[in-house]
């Protein structure tokens, strides 16, 4: 479904990504992990179009994504849950979800998607008229995911959903992500710093370090590999 071949991204004189290749098959849960500065967010931004790669190929369902404008990529069925939540702080929870449904698909399936989102995240239903900027970090993360789901996507991409959240909330969020994957057979690409949480339910994982893929495999292989630890802690 999503194919990345030899993607390289450089900006400000820094080589953020070097020759990264990645595959996401339909229905899979793929995790990309790595320490800070490894280039995970850059990868996410390249896929969503915020950053332009200097070389390499990016295709989605056979279509060259690099020639598609960022705002258009949402219409293709890719939903982005960005780093740091990025909710529309001055708009209500409901309005945020409505903005998520800005795509054609989202608008068409709004009636069935909204109850699903509320079932997944009951707290959003409770606070539907509250301004998004006043929600707690965890609630904002749920809202961001809900917003992504509201577009009726084929591929849900999440960028470091655990960032800045307390561990118990992180657990809750990851449970929901797993639930979404299981119940709705949604394809998921998760970029994350916390290894175990990310690798736990993934089908396939990639470990990035200083812009390169240093390890890939099934989640069993990765969970027990000492090299993962070295990537994070240096020894």
């Amino acid at each position: 479904m999503l194919k990345i071949r030899s993607l390289s991204v450089a900006y400000g004189g820094l080589q953020a990504l070097s020759e990264v290749s990645l595959d996401v098959e339909r229905g899979q849960f793929v995790a990309v992990v790595g320490p800070n500065g490894a280039g995970k967010s850059t990868l996410f931004k390249a896929i969503s179009g915020t950053v332009t790669p200097s070389s390499g190929a990016l295709t989605y369902n056979g279509r060259d994504l690099l020639s598609v404008a960022p705002a258009e990529r949402a219409q293709l069925g890719i939903a982005h849950v960005p780093e740091g939540r990025q909710v529309f702080a001055s708009m209500t929870v409901m309005e945020n979800l409505e903005m998520g449904a800005y795509t054609r698909n989202g608008r068409a399936r709004w009636r069935e998607l909204l109850p699903t989102i509320f079932a997944l995240f009951p707290v959003l239903a409770e606070r539907r008229d509250q301004l998004a900027g006043t929600l707690s970090g965890g609630e904002q993360q749920m809202l961001a995911i809900g917003r992504g789901l509201a577009s009726g996507p084929e591929l849900l991409m999440l960028d470091e959903p655990s960032m800045g959240l307390a561990p118990t909330i992180v657990d809750a969020i990851f449970e929901r992500i797993q639930q979404v994957h299981r119940d709705h057979r949604l394809t998921i690409l998760l970029v994350e710093q916390r290894v175990a949480e990310a690798l736990e339910s993934c089908d396939r994982g990639y470990v990035l370090e200083t812009g390169r893929v240093v390890l890939q495999g099934s989640h069993d292989t990765l969970m027990s590999d000492a090299r993962v630890r070295r990537a994070y802690l240096g020894m």
Partner: protein, 596 residues
Amino acid sequence: MSAQRRSLMWQYIAIGVFAVVYLLVGFVVRNSYYQLIMTLVLIWATMGLSWNMLSGYSGMISFGHASFFGIGGYTMTIAFVDFGITPWIGIPLGVITGVISGVIIGVPTFRLRGHYFALSMLAYPLALLYVFEWLGYQEVSLPMKRDAPALYAQFSDPRVYMVLALGLTILCMIMSLHVERSRFGMSLLAIKQNEPAAEAAGINTLRWKMMAMMVSAGMAAAAGGLYALVLLVVTPQTMFGVLTSAQALIFALFGGVGTFWGPVIGAAILVPLAETLHAELGHIIPGIQGVVYGSAIIIIILLAPDGIYWRIRDRLMQRRLGAPAPSLVPEPIAARGADTGRARSSPGQPLLRLDGVSRAFGGLKAVDDVSISVVEGLVHGIIGPNGAGKTTLFNVVNGFLAAGAGHIDFAGAELVGLKPHEICRRGIGRTFQVVRAFPRMTVFQNVIVGSYVGAATDAEAERLAFAALERVGLADQQANAIARGLTMKQLRLMELARALAPRPRLLMLDEILAGLGHDELEDILRIIRQVNREGVTIVIIEHTMQAMVKLADHFSVLDHGKLIASGPPAEVVRNPAVIEAYLGKKWMDRAKNTVA
């Protein structure tokens, strides 16, 4: 003669040539209207120089320089009309009132940032305009003194005014030239480029901004006084009007921001153009002047935002590839290698002590009761997952953020409550995550900004800068390189040199290794180790763990704002709490299960 003196001499020669040529043209021209234009060009050039002094050099964009222009003009006018004081005294008097009003306006307004500052500056002249109209100064004509005209600066030959204006312009040009070359100008440029970094480098930003405002106001007031004298009729609209403020800006912007040639070029091109069009077509197309000036701004902003002077200079620089810029590097001075550190207490003692330091944003505790002891002479690494509060901690130590609670002791003195430049003065240097160099200046000029805090004279600052460049290995050829073309590694080294220039006892490095390739990393590590061996204590935030475990003597680990571990790298990295912080609880659980 040193390269610097030579460069200064060339500038003086250029100014001299300009003056002579201008005078010649002025005396050749017969038409009195053109003579008037030549005078006006100079007055507006002065106004542009005044704007440049504040806004061009420091980046604090002012839309209200008409305030000072008008105050100068009206001081002279009122002194003349109401009190019979000659303009020879009246104009200097206007300068004084201008400078005072600069202080009055500056004190409150400098507390504002960005567009609030610009808007406030805009409001002052408009308010003054209404006040003067209300006071009854709708139109004031300067009286003709027939018995002793020269005593009252009234001359039948318009060219005398041109000479006076030329004198004023040359004076302002020379002042600007010297400011540019001095620590005053360099500090302003540093403020423009990156005010926090300038503060951290020891520059007292408020003091320099205020000085710039005062000089700028004085120049504008002089221009205003002369303008009133030449035109003989003074109205609030011409003195305080928006077009006046706009013109100050336009000439500097068009000709070249941040250089004293800019306003002169801008005025020389635009004033004759606008005035001539106005004279020829003014009766058919009123307001042609405004259209010309407005279009000039639009065109220049879109095509050459820094002004003509820089565009031309960039072109010329490109042609002479690799030729060094007008070099300001002094000849190699004998003071080398010696005296690389201040007198220190016995190494092995804590130099920097954080005691229960906390800082919260709203309800979020970014730094939570952190106590760290940094031993002198060591490399102390601060690590932790993303969002752990490391940079916030640095900002608190450095003085950019106030500590909510706790104490910070540096060599026996309390740091909490001090401003960043004061902290730098005490001997703490800092680099920032995002390196912002001055792209058009040399490496040396970039570094010297950091030396001022440790040097009483400009000459000593130069020596310190050169010594710092030597320490990081950027001396010789690279010192004269224009910063724009540097590699990431060189930029980082330059940052390091700037922080080292005042010979700090403690150096705080914020992610100086991020994103570097393997070889470049090794080079910088080597230099950092060398600096440390010379006696500088280092506190470093880094994510590149492979490098950190090799470099640091001691780690302090933060997570969610709290200190969770402290000790030598080998120990800390095996600490379960640390592993959990980085890799997650489930990893730890699994690891425990597999081991068992």
